[in-house]
């Protein structure tokens, strides 16, 4: 099944007031209630989870990337300069 197929359900009970305000907001946004709820929840979920935390590579790319990390550690001249800037005092 394609990952974009909507095959899963989430059931949510709402109060009259929540129902009214969500319907009104969805109408104002020009969306169906389902589309509105999904976009709002998904945006919040992605923001909370920082969706880009995990960087996924093809196996070939990952193998090359991992191999390059075996090079000996080195001070990076530009980064050394960065650490010479004035500190921001922590409270």
């Amino acid at each position: 099944m394609s990952p974009t197929t909507r095959s899963q359900r989430i059931d949510v009970r709402v109060t009259d007031e929540q129902n009214a305000i969500i319907r009104e907001a969805a109408a104002a946004a020009g969306q169906t209630v389902t589309a509105f709820l999904l976009s709002a929840a998904e945006e919040r979920a992605r923001n909370l989870l920082d969706e880009h935390r995990h960087l996924v590579m093809t196996h070939a790319t990952f193998a090359r990337f991992a191999a390059a990390l075996e090079d000996p550690a080195e001070a990076v001249p530009a980064m050394t300069e960065l650490f010479e800037l004035p500190r921001i005092p922590a409270e």
Binding site: H52, M57, H59, L69
Partner: protein, 170 residues
Amino acid sequence: MSELRLVQLTADHDLSGVDCGNDELDVWLRDHALASQRADLARTYLVLEEEAVAAYVSLTTGSVRPETVPKRYARGLPRYPIPTILIARLAVDRRHQRNRLGSRLLAEALRRAAQTSDVTAARLVVVDAIDDDAAEFYRRWGFIAVPENPHRLFRKIRDVRQSLNQGENG
């Protein structure tokens, strides 16, 4: 300019006036940073000038990993995710954008990344550049783009630590 100080975000900070010139960065700080922190999903540090936010940075952990493939094809391939510390967002308020504050805050974030990796294993610092200018900013300070993605850049924590030792003793 009065004195700047670096603090970890709490519910007491007033985030309403922040204007980094990028809505996504402003909205995330105002509406999501505290929730992420409370859920132990990200730590956000603010640079304050008096009580106003001059800049912020958020740190979290992540990984670089190979895509999952069926077992019969995966034999002999490196499979272990590489643990990373991710600088997910770094933004400077418009009023401070000419004072090298972003660079100084990056240095503070990298110091914390180095400290973190003394306590738990992390092999890389990865940065998430929001646009081309941000990517250029990170390259200027020695970061390297990951393969096939000019907006994700990295450096080995060991390189960061060696640079830190030289910079602070030099």
